[in-house]
């Protein structure tokens, strides 16, 4: 889907759409996206109320430059989509994705709603979350079912733990196989994998900024780009953790310079030392990584600028109004 610009998803807050205070305050947190939840954080008796809030909430969460995402209910898919797919929405999160036919059905409904509601065809992404064993088994068919799936991951977390009947917060990775299946699927089908290298977490804290940074930093160093969380404390650490540092940018320029020299030599690789005296190998793979790092950093900077301009605009308008 080359004609749809890549949206950054380094940080994002998931919040119950029925809690007005959360929705009204989320715009200035600086997240790349805001995930308005119709699912687990909304009690069954409020599902109708929640659904009726989505359309009006999209511009509210958008106003600080964050992209709007809506997490729908697996079992209320059609009604929820009807309530959620409005101009300004970037993505629908579909929890507990298990079968390709579910995704094909979603794609059909979204396609119709896009046409009816003046949304650019194909603009709305589907986030297919793998949270059950059935989802892992059908991962390849699920991702193949719609080009609206542009990134893919899962097979860990609360729902997966429950489905497998295991404790989530233990000192080792209980999900090696499922996460591997899901990531290999994403890579084999050419959609962006999102995954996190395992870091032991025995507390389960959702608001620890240091942990959030360490996890984002480790994920970025493995090549991953997508975050998200539940508490405002983790937004800034995730933005920072997923953005390459100045030192890394300088290093990438150095790698590309070494590669330019190498490519004149007829050799395909060389071992050398970097500025800090570390042994380094230079080859086309390092060059490709360096190039990607610079492009990613530029995208991060552009996105940060976009958000801070949007926030300034809102603040200026508010002052003007007073």
């Amino acid at each position: 889907m080359a004609d749809h610009p890549r949206r950054l998803k380094r940080s994002g807050l998931t919040m119950p759409i029925v809690t007005e205070r959360f929705i009204n305050n989320a715009w200035h947190r600086g997240c790349d996206f805001i995930n308005m939840d119709l699912e687990d954080s909304v009690p069954p008796n409020l599902k109708d109320v929640a659904r009726n809030l989505v359309r009006q909430s999209i511009p509210v969460v958008n106003k600080g430059g964050a992209d709007a995402v809506c997490r729908i209910n697996h079992d209320l898919m059609e009604a929820d989509l009807n309530a959620a797919v409005w101009p300004g929405l970037m993505m629908v999160n579909y929890p507990k994705a298990e079968y390709a036919h579910e995704i094909r059905r979603m794609d059909e409904i979204i396609t119709r709603l896009e046409a009816e509601r003046g949304i650019r065809p194909g603009a709305i992404e589907i986030g297919a979350n793998i949270e059950t064993a059935v989802g892992v088994a059908n991962a390849y068919e699920i991702v193949s079912a719609s080009p609206r799936i542009r990134d893919f991951g899962g097979a860990s977390g609360y729902d997966m733990s429950r489905d497998l009947g295991v404790e989530m917060f233990v000192g080792f990775d209980q999900f090696v196989y499922g996460k591997g299946e899901v990531e290999l699927t994403a890579r084999a089908l050419g959609v962006e994998p999102h995954a996190a290298p395992f870091t032991p977490n025995l507390t389960g804290s959702v608001s620890d900024p240091d942990r959030a940074f360490a996890e984002a930093d480790a994920a970025r160093r493995c090549g991953f780009r997508i975050g998200g969380g539940l508490h405002p404390n983790v937004v800034e650490p995730q933005n920072r953790g997923f953005t390459p540092t100045d030192d890394e940018v300088a290093d990438a320029h150095w790698v590309l310079e070494q590669y330019r020299l190498l490519s004149r030599s007829g050799d395909t690789w060389i071992q050398t030392e970097d500025a800090t005296g570390q042994p380094r190998i230079i080859d086309r793979y390092e060059a490709a990584r360096a190039q990607e790092l610079l492009q990613w950093r530029a995208l991060c900077e552009e996105r940060d600028r976009e958000k801070s301009e949007a926030i300034s605009r809102v603040r200026a308008a508010e002052e003007h109004a007073e």
């Binding site: 699927t185 290298p197 480790a218 493995c222 007829g266 050799d267 080859d283 793979y285």
Partner: protein, 313 residues
């Protein structure tokens, strides 16, 4: 049990565009020399590299090594025409991605075998599952041709851009290695690889790290591994060879089991606090058989280096 008939512990990749590396390759002590036309040959040098394969096939075997050529499926015809000559033991298919591709390569090799007077079916294949589609289709690839002898992840860490985790493990590799070992065993093929850790990358590592990677690799089922540097060959040979301690323990087990079951009245016995059954005893017998086969292989290589005539095993 996967094919275990051939001792192929160390596979030294030699860039075909480097005449000095090709000339010295037979001295490295590798079980297999891979003449590379893909990863380590710069694009403009490829036509010239192909030209000199045929002339070097027997020279690189002077130290008793077998010779494979690594080919690029994208340049399949040119690479196979350069490689399939008498003396060739097999080809490594870099970036193998589908069963159809393997079938096509198989057919091309067959026609070159008959055209050039090679025994039909004699050229073996190792499939490099180095991309995500290749790994996804691993079982179909493994079973797509009777020529397939082995499977490897090759330089998947670089080609799939897999990087070190905070633990020092390379991201996704534990999963991919076990997947490959399982697929290979299911298909009756030999899994090739070593369990590399940061800072090793793309088959490059110090001799000490290579030995550790080979030992960890052998422990999860690999039988041998590719490498890039001459000084990695000895650690791979060592790492994929049962140690003296293992061999002694296996002999003791064999003895204990045959003594205990001599009477024919029991099949399971305890030895050193562990249980022994016929299957478990066989597993130890396999260690001894492997150790013997390696000793024979080493005798053959030594004789080849010294220029003595060697009996064909």
């Amino acid at each position: 049990m996967p094919a275990n008939d051939k001792i192929r512990r160390s596979w030294l990749l030699v860039p075909m565009s480097r005449p000095e590396r090709v000339l010295s390759a037979h001295q490295a002590g590798a079980d297999v020399v891979i003449l590379d036309l893909v990863e380590f040959v710069a694009e403009p040098d490829k036509p010239a590299a192909r030209e000199v394969v045929a002339a070097n096939l027997s020279a690189v075997k002077a130290g008793g090594a077998e010779v494979f050529v690594q080919i690029d499926p994208e340049l399949m015809l040119a690479d196979l025409r350069a490689a399939v000559w008498p003396g060739l033991n097999g080809v490594v298919v870099s970036r193998a991605e589908s069963a159809e591709q393997i079938a096509q390569i198989d057919a091309t090799i067959s026609s070159l075998e008959s055209e050039r007077g090679l025994l039909p079916g004699s050229v073996e294949m190792v499939a490099g599952l180095e991309t995500a589609p290749g790994n996804h289709n691993g079982y179909e690839i493994a079973t797509a041709s009777p020529r397939n002898w082995g499977l490897t992840l090759g330089r998947a860490d670089l080609i799939m851009d897999l990087r070190p985790e905070p633990s020092g493990e390379i991201h996704l590799m534990q999963y991919l290695m076990q997947r490959l070992v399982t697929i290979a065993a299911a298909a009756g093929k030999t899994p090739l690889g070593a369990s590399w850790r940061h800072p090793d990358r793309g088959l490059l590592a110090t001799p000490a790290n290579t030995l550790a990677a080979a030992r960890r690799g052998r422990a999860i089922g690999f039988k041998g591994s590719f490498c890039v540097l001459d000084n990695q060959v000895a650690p791979l040979n060592e790492g994929f060879t049962p140690t003296g301690v293992e061999v002694a323990a296996a002999r003791a087990v064999r003895q204990a089991y045959s003594d205990a079951t001599e009477s024919g009245t029991i099949a399971a016995v305890s030895h050193d606090g562990r249980i022994l059954t016929a299957d478990i005893a066989r597993q130890y017998a396999n260690v001894l058989a492997l150790s013997d086969a390696i000793a024979t292989r080493e005798m053959f290589k030594t004789a080849a280096v010294e220029g003595r005539p060697v009996p064909v095993p």
